[in-house]
Subunit: 345 residues, 4 copies
């Protein structure tokens, strides 16, 4: 059955797989020193407009978050994130496992509000009991967010500006980075993003690879002994070629953004299918679509295509998530369209 | 100047000090094996009606919280507490330092609502992504709360009942336990409390000692190797007599509740002084009183007695905290009364 | 240049790669619930003779060690290992990062001596200051060891017997498991190993895959909520098919042991080349060979083939490591033979 | 029965107790801001010849070690100590609990050898697998050592010099500092010590107080946000006056060194008693004496005075520890002398 459950239900993009096949017989160094990792780093530096960037390939998103956050914070510092942030909800406490508190702020459709951030920091620094509190050391945001929204350049600038004033590092979780950059509402590009944070990562797992996230410290500035930190987190790939080869493919001929764009096109077509069927969706310009289905509709559609239930809306309605990816085809959408047409009025 | 800033501005209660003086010349074992610690444990077991209780003396509240929570939880488990809980706000991340997430629920005047707790747990266990979330292992409440409120027996029974249904341990932070038990709104006693949780501690620092909290596991059941856990947290007193002697005094002739009752009497007289002066207070039946002062009043009173500002109410008003303790005298209250009388109308 | 540097310089074994290619277009569940992971688990259970085994696929060895050790130990427990153990030397403190001490015992060619283990435990339990010490909770051994040696069945039985008497879990790091099982000195098989420990893992990265280690709890008994523990360690593969497909291939038609056997054959031929050239080797029946070269020889050979220096022997000699793998060919050995023949007398 | 078991079997020195009594009725600030802590800090700065020193009062030795080490190290750094070091053996893994490996070097009568330290560091930095190892960030030594020995000025200079060359901090555990400084073999004073390390602490618990260790960062330079770090470790005393008052007494009129000297005098008299009785002792110039008793002697002496068995020497002999302190009297020694005279020939 066609699945819209997630953006990691597929294998590798054919071009990525092909590169794995072609390079398989070569011998190479390990632990990040293979030639493809070197090449991929060079290409990513170019794509980001960051000739000095420090780049590390890790395996997955939770691992990248936990390692970067732990690496950039002092032991006693915490990380500020919105309530709905992946690190606050869906990483089984990987950040706390390294001793760091996640300090939650309100989520606005998945986004942090720079004004609220500043107000919180102002109150924190005015608090006479500050020495009994967790010192914030970093702001963590996701781009795009877990709820499919994207920050505007202005919003990120505002957050970065608060970070600068309060001496906080800004880290952007880009597990779905491509899908954010390719969305119609995004008003900046990769080099702009790289100039507006202290660290971010380019998610591969959800955008065409079998695994792998490229952690970027745009202006050099990786934490001292970051390789040891990565190893200490169990995050150092022995056969680093696995990540290197895949990112080498993703950043050749602009494949990364190309396939991300495809997913967004599919998502927008999908929105139209729902809208045409009179079914309401939450706003989302990226590859995750949140649809408000009656429980009857939900069951009927489930007989034809796979998707995830997200959360109950009320006793008779459920918010459901439909996800496209680089692998979504027009045929997949046709299956959905058919399912929608079969709904009882 | 008379201080109502906190309940740890004073030395030891004279009876406690006297016991330290009298026992000082004796030699004794260390690390919890001294005779006074043994005696104090016996007296506390009796006061709690728990002949099998495991009892450990730690130095302070944050240390007790961090050690007990870490000791009772598996490494991957988190602890549920209200937003305003001491462990969530004022312990510099001591719980997270051991790798445990504090999972915040709404605070109702400092208290957790059993219904909200149950709803949260129900949603958690229905969540298909549960394997990506922090497993809750414990509920932490404070008695009395940080905001001066006390749970009723019915409220604690409701929370405990939810804990039992969801296999959570219930831990009660009693840093100010005496002041809660002595309050007019408290409808249970120490043995009842001991029967309605899995662990709690009897705060000494704020109720008559120089330091020391008695951690009680009421039905034996201290975590295995708890002494090693205490030592690993840097919380094992070499000269354990320091805590033992003080708690021996506190639990002789009912001193603990006696001096707590005095603080409550003083707090109720204090409330009357404010009320008579037409100044509003937040509800509180314990030794912490939260007073809504105009900023002008605040400055005027500050010239006569010491107290803490708690948080801004609006641009012209501030919530202020006035605390009584076993050491508060009628003379202290007279000083406050005088200050209130001098307020400009 | 031909490389004998390590057993992770090559890509995937062709059969493993072929399976990745063939399955790439299929959609599948994630986080361990894909069909290939299910299949691979079934095949591994069969190969181990453990119908009830709990099996988890992690990415790499350090990650597997850190996650399993943390998962099986209480927070305050430590793990006993020999001085030269990978977890004690080459994992950047990943075990300590979760709060567990590595308690070192002497290494005998990489192996732990059951008698020394027992003597240490006896002394530990007789120590009156035991409550101030790290409680040992587990014994960790590697099979084969980091120095190329293998335990006999009798040696493992002796260690397991001590573990049982002292209530310690036994965990076997099998990063190179296949090469150990295939060695001529190994007097047991996989099912026997599975019956003689509490947990072990089957290394894929060094034996034919691009990544992946199969953690096996042979008699069910995975730590409670182990998936959350894996996620908390950043070790949960989103596209678990990546590991599942590769292990499915490795455990089809006995490929795993077959390719391991090849590496051992190559290693034994390599030994003969050195011996014939009059160059001494340390004893090793597995795929890692430790060769005592004069510094002059070392430089001359380095011009023809790649290998690692291990440690200085004296001012004029260096211990060097030559490693074979499933990918080593007779041509590779010919290159080494040529290099040895060119050595100045 | 007279006890030579440890230096924390007694209460507070009478002068210290008297100061607690005299100050008990005064109100004071908490969390380190009380007047006595301020005064004590000033006096300690003067005694150390360090006008800029940052000084913090913690409760006990394990707590001080764990907090200072964690505060001064980056998360991924380890601490080098000798095998017999307190942090390596007798702190239940408190250092590892914060994620830091203790890297053991050989112990020479409790002391570290600067040459061995340098050799280890040289080998470490030459190791090509350095990125897979724990980075050493600190050297920890005890003064005097756990075995009663003291470093000479030259030995400490040599260690410090290695630390400077390899960018390591030097931390000296002074749980028994007074007894070291007062020993006849010590060829430096407190100001010299303060100039030759990055942090140390002045033990109170074993030298006259009921609790309390004064952590000194001699040239300012306390780790950033050290108060939060202390709080995070559960090590911040609410009623900091308890430590402040006691150290105020200890550093008035040179009491600290005065009472330490007394303990040393008693220890030297004790040595003579054993020597006169023909019983061999290990070398020790401080307040801990290690005596080689036959098991028959051991039992006979135990009937008259208390002491600790340290470790078996052989089947018929046991190393036993006899400890003096500020509280040891000539009468105590007389009791020992009597016991020795009663030994069967």
């Amino acid at each position: 059955m066609v699945s819209f459950e997630s953006d990691y239900n597929n294998g590798a993009h054919p071009v990525v797989l092909q590169h794995l096949i072609e390079t398989n017989a070569s011998q190479s160094q390990s632990y990040g020193f293979d030639e493809w990792s070197e090449q991929a780093r060079a290409k990513i530096r170019k794509a980001c407009g960051c000739p000095d960037a420090d780049i590390f390939f890790l395996v997955g998103g939770t691992q990248a978050n936990a390692t970067v956050i732990d690496g950039m914070l002092a032991s006693y510092e915490g990380v500020i994130a919105v309530q709905t942030a992946h690190i606050n909800v869906h990483e089984s406490g990987a950040v706390e496992a390294s001793g760091h508190k996640v300090i939650p702020l309100p989520s606005h459709g998945g986004k942090m509000d720079a004004g609220e951030l500043e107000a919180w920091l102002k109150a924190f620094h005015a608090d006479p009991t500050l020495e009994h509190m967790v010192i914030p050391g970093m702001v963590y945001i996701t781009f795009p967010t877990e709820l499919g929204s994207v920050y505007s350049a202005k919003e990120i600038e505002a957050i970065l500006s608060v970070c600068r004033r309060y001496d906080l590092r800004l880290f952007i979780d880009g597990a779905r980075l491509g899908y954010g950059l390719a969305s119609s509402e995004c008003d900046f590009d990769l080099p702009w993003l790289a100039r507006h944070c202290d660290a971010f990562y380019i998610g591969g797992t959800k955008v065409g690879t079998l695994c792998g996230e490229a952690v970027v410290f745009p202006r050099a500035g990786a934490p001292r002994h970051f390789m040891n930190i990565v190893k200490r987190h169990g995050a150092l790939l022995a056969k680093s070629r696995l990540a290197g080869v895949q990112f080498d493919a993703l950043f050749t001929d602009n494949l990364y953004l190309h396939i991300a764009k495809h997913a967004i096109d599919m998502a927008m077509k999908m929105r139209k299918l729902f809208t045409d069927a009179g079914i309401p969706l939450r706003p989302s310009c990226t590859n995750q679509q949140f649809v408000e289905l009656s429980n009857v509709q939900m069951k009927q559609i489930m007989e034809h295509v796979l998707f995830e239930t997200w959360e109950p809306i009320d006793e008779e309605h459920t918010l459901c998530r439909f996800v496209t990816s680089w692998a979504t085809t027009n045929n997949d959408l046709n299956a959905l369209e058919t399912a929608l047409k079969l709904l009882n009025p």
